[in-house]
């Protein structure tokens, strides 16, 4: 496949890596120019305006952060246990509702976030121990059970919190907007107009990056992570080498469910909490994981970035066909690389 790669720095020309490096360099250069230059009129004519373009890009990236939080749990659970948890969206929504209640009662947003994570982690643990362990090795029935759970959960949440839309109150120190060092235009007086962006969304993005790095470290630098990775590759062999796989499964499921709950509170503060959000985030998780590759955290990050950007850019430039863009990304990925961008062929 990669003849150039095998011959290394042979005089035949560029290696694959070098070629990609040059492409990446030019892409970065174009992006930097787009970011810092004041746009000429023809570019504004094509892309509406610099403000609209970069707002959609930043919105896409922060949404990607949220999608990553939701999908990373989904992909971990799937990669390890072959358990397609279609109740993952319900976990997200339940986390959001719980976060709303806890924040409202205690008055501390951080307590709400912590509660969203902790309660859902425990719930995920219980689900794994009492439900999925009984159906181990039976993918289809596990999936059917998660469908049943999601139906019941959606209905009970509708009963409990009605169809109203909630917004979780964020503390004052997270409110407001920051001025990004990006000049969108110059006023007639010569003053530069900077792009402003909600501070909270940047915090969401930062949280997603921190958690992503944390998960990567957990998976690649700790003993538990080693077991998880071994389980993703070959579950039977891991069990045969004396590891208590059920404990590993339970830990992973708790982390996955906890992350969904965490994302629920964080996302419910940025956007809103309402019935139907569970389906939205389930769809996002599914597509992110299909595109990124099952069981891969890096893949989830790449997939989330693609889908988040596609959704927000689509929203600005072709509003009624935005979902088609997401869909096209999924289909193209399946056509070229059925196992997903970072997935391993099985």
């Amino acid at each position: 496949m990669s003849i150039a790669g095998e011959t290394g720095a042979a005089p035949r020309g560029l290696t694959r890596g070098q070629a990609w490096g040059i492409v990446a360099f030019f892409a970065a250069a174009v992006f930097a120019w787009l970011l810092f230059a004041v746009w000429p009129d023809w570019l504004n004519a094509i892309l509406i305006s610099k403000k609209a373009f970069f707002s959609s890009i930043f919105n896409g990236i922060t949404l990607a952060g949220l999608y990553f939080l939701v999908a990373s749990g989904f992909t971990l659970v799937f990669g390890l246990m072959r358990n397609v948890n279609l109740a993952h969206g319900s976990l997200y929504l339940l986390g959001a509702y719980l976060g709303y209640e806890v924040t409202r009662i205690t008055g501390y947003w951080l307590v709400g976030v912590a509660a969203g994570f902790a309660v859902l982690a425990v719930l995920g643990l219980l689900m794994q121990v009492f439900v999925f362990r009984r159906l181990e090795g039976d993918d289809l029935r596990q999936t059917l059970v998660t469908i049943g759970i999601s139906i019941v959960a959606a209905d009970l949440m509708l009963w409990m919190w009605t169809g109203a839309t909630y917004q979780i109150a964020t503390p004052a120190w997270l409110d407001g907007a920051v001025k990004l060092p990006v000049v969108t235009a110059y006023r007639s007086s010569g003053d530069a107009v900077f792009l402003t962006y909600p501070f909270y969304r940047l915090v969401v993005l930062a949280a997603a990056i921190v958690i992503g790095i944390g998960l990567w470290l957990l998976l690649n630098r700790t003993r538990v992570g080693m077991m998880i990775r071994a389980g993703v590759d070959d579950r039977a062999m891991l069990a045969a080498s004396g590891v208590n796989v059920h404990a590993v499964f339970a830990v992973v499921f708790a982390i996955g469910a906890g992350l969904a709950g965490f994302a629920g509170v964080v996302g419910g503060s940025a956007l809103s909490v309402a019935p139907g959000e569970d389906v939205r985030y389930l769809l996002a998780s599914l597509v992110v994981v299909i595109v990124g590759g099952m069981g891969s955290i890096t893949g989830a990050a790449i997939g989330a970035l693609l889908i988040g950007l596609a959704e927000q850019v689509g929203l600005v430039y072709f509003p009624t066909y935005g979902i088609v863009l997401t869909f096209v990304i999924m289909v193209v990925t399946l056509a070229i690389r059925p196992q997903g961008i970072m997935g391993k062929a099985r």
Binding site: V84, T143, G148, V279, I323
Partner: protein, 343 residues
Amino acid sequence: MSLALPTSDPTRAATPAFAGGGLAHLVLAAVLVLYPAVASDFFLTQIGAYSLILGMVALSLMLLAGYGGMVSLAQLSVAGMAGYAVAIFGLNSSGVHGFGWPWWIVVPFAVLIAGIASALIGAISSRTDGIYTIMITLAIATATFYFTQQNYALFNGFPGFAGIRAPEFWGVFWRDPVPFYYVTLAVAALCYAAVLYAARSTFGLALQAIRDNPRRMRAIGFDVTAHKIVAYFFAGLIAGLAGVLLVWFNGRISPGTINVAAAINILIIAVIGGMRHPIGPFLGALVVVLMQTFAIDLIGAERFNTLIGLFFLVIVFASPDGLLGLWGRFRPRSGQESLGPSP
């Protein structure tokens, strides 16, 4: 491949009472044909015809899942495509599109669209197999729902299309209760017979063999992907017919008809009924429709989803082969096999 329904002998796999066909089918046919004599209009359409329509959509899923091992959640979306085609190319009262083609062109056209849409979905989801199919088709179903809801140019967005009338010919308005029931029954019986026939045809046997061991079939020289796509095409035709009937039944179609809950409802129907024999989906549809109609008296209309969800969970835990499986349990069988993983 745990989506497989491994069976050592295809004829014995069916529930005993329906395996031979013969008598049981005659009795069932007689009951269904004579049903209008005793049923009120409500029982005829809201229960009878509606169950048959949902049963047909679930049948298209059963064809894929039971014989092909491909659990597709997009079958209702396929039916919805046919329904939208009827609304767009036929007549509707929403003032959008409505080309007014005659029904005898619109119906085959809509069914063909459904078949092609289903085949495309099959081509996409056949890129991977096993449990991935359920994820990809669910993503497709959800994306279809959001697309029809957001797009006004093609699908008239949230309100969808209303005022779609069933055709009127030979002096009969085919949406009147009795004619509509018989039309639905005839189409459902046709689909049922077609699936039974297809399951025993060379194609059906090859499909079941692919379900049980795709690698071996590929090694023998069968085109595994082509078989799967053709199965999706047939399933799409069945779903398309159901979609046409559904849009005549409701008189309208909107994104709400094909939302995710409705798509999952089809899977619930198929699982509750059982996916080992084509009668299962119809049985499941009847049970679900009856529950839907009469649960109001039991627990109130709002909590219906909890009831159906719990019932579904019980079935999944207790009897992987649905109600048909429960039935089969009364007869001793050697080594009952279920939706379990193949060794």
